[in-house]
């Protein structure tokens, strides 16, 4: 307690020098929390959007289905289990059939995944009601990214070619009845959605699906052809991407923190050099060397506590504001292939704030202790004379 009291007194007494160091350290403190809050917010939003638009509460995959192997799609479909009929009727499970196909926008060929979904489903946010639209040709919906890539818009007709269950090629015109705007590229890029009835009729694969998306009240079934994939599995790639982004962002703010800590280290070295007479006086008055080392260590480490306080003064209003308006993300970033909203709402958990505080305090204390150790080897009689040691 004594050392803490004396340390703060010395720190405040040092005036501008202290506050400059504190300001720089507080900036790094706020930036660390800002970045991590943004990443955590992105993660949370991405997971929420992915669950809402793509994976629901989990998925049952046909046993041969592999999302990374387009050739597997040829065989990756099976009859929908009869045990699920009631749940499908109750809209707790929705079947999705996926086949390889091609479209020809502006006369160019583009390979796509043609996906079917019940028009009246209520599990995913996809605007599948639009598939009920009366249209000249088979109605289809596409995402905004797909529309930009193919230069298609609502009302356009485009030639679609696919292979039916016997491997025979067939083709027809489809009408784009809706272009949806989703933050989840994996349901958008290279995909066209049609109604379940349309694709069943086109391919001859009646009552079959590649995967089944489950809702909140899904009751599990056991079927050798179908493997349940939970959120942990389905969100693993997304989580890994965000963690790697966090890792690369950490290099930047750790460099900033390093600069701030270097400033504290330099201040401590200079302080001990300049205050040798004071150190000698402390020892003459009866302080032990370890007490003096502790005093200077706490003095340096206390910069971090003052930095946290100063950071709170301008950081809290800033973070509060950002949680209200969000952090705008440039449009180019939304085509990066990972779920990303046009605005990220940052998330600041207690763990993030206290973890960052602990990191900064511990780091500041360590860089303060390093030069303070020298005091233990100082000759007090030389120190009292102010002689350089």
């Amino acid at each position: 307690m004594l050392s803490l009291k004396l340390a703060f007194k010395n720190l405040i007494g040092a005036g501008l020098k202290t506050w400059l160091n504190v300001l720089v350290l507080s900036i790094s403190f706020v930036i660390i929390i800002f970045f991590n809050g943004m990443m955590d917010g992105w993660d949370k939003q991405a997971q929420t959007d992915t669950i809402a638009w793509e994976i629901g509460q989990g998925q049952l995959w046909e046993k041969d289905y592999d999302p990374y192997d387009p050739y597997a799609l040829i065989d990756a479909h099976a009859p929908i289990p009869s045990d699920l009929k009631s749940q499908i009727t109750a809209k707790e499970v929705l079947p999705v059939l996926i086949v390889q196909a091609s479209i020809y926008p502006q006369g160019r060929m583009q390979n796509i995944q043609l996906k079917s979904i019940p028009a009246d489903q209520e599990i995913l946010e996809l605007p599948t009601q639009a598939l009920k639209t009366e249209a000249l040709n088979t109605p289809a919906i596409i995402g905004k990214r797909m529309a930009e890539a193919t230069k298609l818009k609502v009302g356009d007709q485009v030639l679609l070619r696919w292979r039916d269950k016997n491997g025979t090629f067939d083709a027809r015109e489809i009408s784009i009845v809706e272009v949806f705007n989703a933050n989840v590229p994996s349901i958008d890029n290279g995909q066209v959605w049609v109604s379940q009835a349309s694709l069943a009729e086109m391919t001859g694969l009646q009552n079959e699906a590649t995967l089944l998306v489950t809702g909140k009240n899904y009751e599990p079934i056991k079927d050798a052809n179908w493997v349940f994939k939970d959120h942990d599995f389905l969100l693993a790639d997304l989580t890994a991407i965000i963690q790697s982004k966090k890792g690369s962002a950490s290099i930047m703010y750790l460099m900033l923190l390093g600069i701030a800590l270097l400033a504290i280290f330099d201040t401590q070295v200079f302080s001990i050099f300049r205050r040798q007479k004071e150190i000698g006086t402390y020892i003459a008055l009866g302080m032990t060397r370890s007490q003096v080392v502790k005093l200077f260590t706490i003095e340096g480490g206390a910069h971090s506590l003052l930095a946290a306080l100063l950071g709170a003064v301008y950081g809290i209003p800033l973070f509060f504001y950002l949680t209200k308006v969000g952090i705008p993300i440039p449009e180019s970033s939304q085509n990066a292939g990972v779920p990303m909203s046009s605005e990220i709402i940052p998330t600041y958990g207690a763990g993030l704030i206290f973890g960052t505080l602990l990191l900064v305090v511990v780091a500041a204390t360590i860089v303060s202790y390093m030069p303070a150790r020298k005091i233990a080897r100082m000759n007090p009689t030389e120190a009292l004379k102010g002689k350089i040691q």
Binding site: K9, A14, E278, L285, G286, M287
Partner: protein
């Protein structure tokens, strides 16, 4: 008079290049309780070195220095800090006040290390400031004080814990004649009232006038050890 400081055959050498310099040679002295003594001599005669040994800031190369019954050479850092904390006060030529603390806090510092209550500390500090006539300067910082006032604060800081021994290294060197006499009169009074043993290191004639005992050092050895006439001051 029982001695509280006993210096026996003390030699102090400092390494200089490949050899050494002998600052003190075969010093034999005893100091009793309540003495008002001074180590006098020219610069380099070993006065400050001997004072530092008595104050347990340094140890002898040979011989024995016993303070308050403790052999200085045998003390650990902690024990020597405790000895200074409880029994020894220091006054320095350049006052060595702590610049960011007020007068009150500077004087209080010595008591903070002794775990007194806040009320007890306040009482002792105000009493000490009364001894030196600076109760109106409690909130001043050292930068706002004159040389004489600064040294009086240093005296108060050294005396507030009522030490058995007070070591003053050239206390009047930075003071004018008037302030020097004021300081010395204050210290003489405290010596008589509190029976604190005062040992000075000085070459100032003004200080020597007040000493009851003058120990002259020359080239690290005791040249003379003279008791002054009682009626001199």
């Amino acid at each position: 008079m029982a001695s509280i400081i006993s210096i026996q055959n003390v030699i102090k050498r400092f390494p200089v290049g490949k050899g050494h310099f002998t600052a003190l040679e075969n010093i034999n002295l005893k100091f009793g309780k309540g003495e008002f003594a001074g180590l006098v001599g020219p610069s380099g005669s070993g006065k400050t070195t001997l004072l530092n040994i008595i104050g347990s800031l340094d140890t002898p190369s040979e011989g024995t220095a016993t303070v308050m019954g403790r052999d200085i050479a045998g003390l650990s850092h902690k024990e020597s800090a405790a000895l200074r904390n409880q029994h020894i006060g220091f006054i320095f030529q350049s006052y060595n006040l702590l610049p960011v603390y007020t007068v009150f806090e500077n004087v209080e510092f010595a008591l903070l290390l002794q775990n007194h209550t806040a009320a007890a500390r306040k009482k002792a500090v105000m009493e000490a400031l009364e001894w030196v006539g600076l109760t109106d300067k409690v909130k001043s910082k050292p930068a706002m004080l004159s040389g004489g006032e600064s040294q009086r604060v240093a005296i108060a800081r050294a005396m507030v814990k009522r030490p058995d021994i007070l070591l003053a290294d050239e206390p009047s060197a930075n003071l004018d004649a008037k302030n020097s006499h004021q300081i010395l009169q204050t210290m003489k009074q405290l010596n008589q009232e509190l029976k604190t043993t005062f040992i000075f290191s000085t070459h100032d004639e003004k200080v020597m006038q007040y000493l009851d005992r003058t120990i002259s050092l020359k080239d690290g050895q005791v040249a003379k050890d003279v008791l002054a006439d009682v009626a001199k001051v």
